[in-house]
Symmetry: C2
Subunit: 95 residues, 2 copies
Amino acid sequence: MRMHNPPHPGEILKEDVLPELGLTVGAFAAHLGITRPHLSNLLNQHAGITAEMDIRLSEALGQPPGLWIRMQAAYDLWQAEQQPRQHIAPLHVAA
Amino acid sequence: MRMHNPPHPGEILKEDVLPELGLTVGAFAAHLGITRPHLSNLLNQHAGITAEMDIRLSEALGQPPGLWIRMQAAYDLWQAEQQPRQHIAPLHVAA
DNA sequence: GTATCCTGTAAAGAGACGCATTACAAATCA
DNA sequence: TGATTTGTAATGCGTCTCTTTACAGGATAC
């Protein structure tokens, strides 16, 4: 049923990645080439992961690109699904 | 090596989905609850698929949500990878 | 061959978001 | 106590989604 709300990427970065790296937020931000306030916003789920940011993370963490942007997409989709909306009728293929 | 550029979702919608539905762009837009110019922009790759739009498409097309937003993420990531950028050194785990 | 429909696209504007810069206050820690 | 680290706010710029309105070109039908 796939019904568990996916985490914001920032949560994983803050709780798992950063501790394992043993870096301060400021040091990690500097390494990524972004500002400390912005990384803080990422970590605290006040900003999302862009494709650009995904690449930087994948390079810094030695991972194949796409992990973080897919997490973000899953998060965004879940959030949008929680919004009240009027449903759309399914279409059928033409005769 | 995973090195083939992923299509923009609009391309698939325009070339595969719309013809199979047998709908005009205007009719499809109306069904989705968006404007015709905006759907035209989607189809011609001048705008991206948002989480909101993914949900509308998945409902209209009878698909599980996430297909289109993941296509968009793959597309965005590929585009970002094509941009010239300065690489970031990999970090090692703390001692 | 004229009228209708469909299409792509442009302009203008609202609202949201990414990201930078700067700044400050609270918390941690030496 | 003093230095470091952190979260966050304000401001601003650029970009993007999406709407409304409009227009011009192509296709279809009479």
